[in-house]
Amino acid sequence: MDGLRKTYGPVTAVDGVSFTVGEGEIFGIIGPNGAGKTTTVECLSGLRVPDSGAIRVLGLDPQADRAELRQCVGVQLQEGSLPPKIKVGEILELFASFYAHPADPGELMDALGLAGKRGSYFRRLSGGLKQRLSIALALVGGPRIAILDELTTGLDPQARQDTWQLIERVRDRGVSVVLVTHFMDEAEELCDRVMLITGGRVAALDTPAGLAGHAGGGTHMRFVPTGPFAGQVLAALPEVTALERQGERITVSGNGDLVSAVMRALMAAGVEARDVQVESPSLDDAYLRLTRAAGHDPQGALRP
């Protein structure tokens, strides 16, 4: 996707969003409400026509090649109910019949814990089960790309864990996943790369650890060395930004893959680290810092 722009009347929802998702990658899109996340994935899935910008999905144009695109892209929408008296098994089999190479609805129901609900009416399902059905419908076409908007909103912790595992299994089959989420722990757990959108623009795009490391204030590592060594051994590392000695305890601050870099350097110097404590930067901190830097109240923004 390159230079996506979409306005609704006077409101510019998305302005200049560009990114590329690799095969088998889980790509996260985070950002405050109304930042343009949903608009971005709606353009990606061909539900909305962008004002400008180029989108290629598996080499297809979402507008010109609608039919082929829909064969290989599964979409889970934020909203989207079903007729109250349709049964779980029926809707999955119906949707499976739309695709050239569908997944097996039975296997999908097993994987999502819906097997016992095959004959239940949609209106009788709890919020969590409706959400799982919605995920199942996004996957029933055997897609090469799954676009999931607010995957685990409304799920209990166990169901979230189960869903995350499912998404990883889906990815292991080579499916690329575009995941829109509000939950930083979800992005940290699942995503290979995360894009932060604020005010319709890309504020950051990196791995979750990279994003946290650069914007979240860095990693802090405390340890007690088993013997003396020259401070320069650590200070010279590119990952290290600060080095502090308090008695025999040493605190190293930095970013990137700090811990393993320090461990390797210490080993090379013939010293071991005891009593190691690591304080990792969190994606939460990075998120708050970046959204504030972009001039947005992370809670408050309104949807267009």
Binding site: G80, K85, S97
Partner: protein, 263 residues
């Protein structure tokens, strides 16, 4: 080049077969839903059938009526018109609008199947209900109340088909324009009563004032009743009621297509 075309051709054939199966599955599912929530079945089939038996049992209805028909024979097209109106104006648009409200159409938009297919399946299911009601009314009238079968079958079938087209077009226009199911229900009801009135459900058209009688000739349900009544008596319906129905179908249908909102 040749193989490419052949593969493309085979792909297209496979795609067509798959789309055919998908639409069959969709029809089957919509049929089940129509049975589980028997809204259209109750309104469009059970209620007119109930009227058929109640009114048919009134002895005065056996007296001679207009032309070669008994009073009850002349009432049969009114019952058919009532069934068509209830199905097309109430039972058809409300679930369509509900599907849009609930985001079902949007969900279909993400699949290879267009949301218009869902709409088409719902139209087909309601057509089946309408045909079922017509068969029950005509056959019930003939079996139990001695109403002769239409003596001009071709004219009768043509009248029925045009009546269905006209009424369904009005219903689809309601679905196209109404922003919510509640509004669609209200509009459908507001349109329903005058049409039923002019069809002669409560007051025979012959008893209306000359102005109302002339006006009623331009309403689709009255035109449908006139056309069916002529066909029942053995004369091919005149052009005017058929043209009124055709015009209604074309105008409302075109407007519905033009203004239908998918979201």
């Amino acid at each position: 080049m040749t193989t490419g075309t052949a593969i493309g051709g085979a792909g297209r054939v496979a795609g067509r077969a798959r789309r055919g199966r998908a639409f069959g599955k969709l029809l089957q599912t919509e049929g089940k839903l129509a049975w589980r929530t028997p809204f259209g079945l109750g309104l469009g089939v059970v209620i007119p059938a109930f009227f058929l038996f109640i009114i048919g049992s009134v002895p005065a209805m056996r007296k001679p009526g207009p032309g070669t028909l008994t009073q009850f024979g002349a009432f049969i097209p009114v019952l058919i018109g009532m069934s068509l109106a209830l199905i097309a104006l109430i039972a058809l648009p409300i679930p369509l609008v509900l599907n849009r409200d609930r985001g079902v159409l949007r969900r279909f938009a993400t699949t290879p199947v267009a949301p218009s297919w869902l709409l088409a399946a719902q139209v087909v299911v309601n057509l089946a209900l309408a045909l079922m009601a017509i068969v029950i009314i005509v056959a019930g009238g003939a079996l139990f109340f001695g109403v002769r079968l239409p003596s001009q079958p071709a004219g009768f079938v043509l009248s029925v088909l045009l009546a269905i087209a006209a009424m369904f077009a009005i219903g689809l226009l309601i679905a196209a324009l109404c922003p919510s199911a509640a509004v669609a229900g209200a509009v459908g009801t507001v349109v329903l009563y005058p049409l039923l009135f002019f069809s002669g459900l409560w007051t025979p058209t012959a008893d209306m004032s000359p102005f109302l009688r002339r006006l009623s000739g331009f309403t689709p349900l009255n035109a449908a009743v006139q056309a069916m009544r002529d066909a029942m008596q053995g004369t091919f319906p005149p052009a005017r009621p058929l043209l009124v129905l055709a015009a209604c179908a074309v105008i409302c249908g075109a407007l519905a297509v033009r203004y239908f909102r998918w979201e």
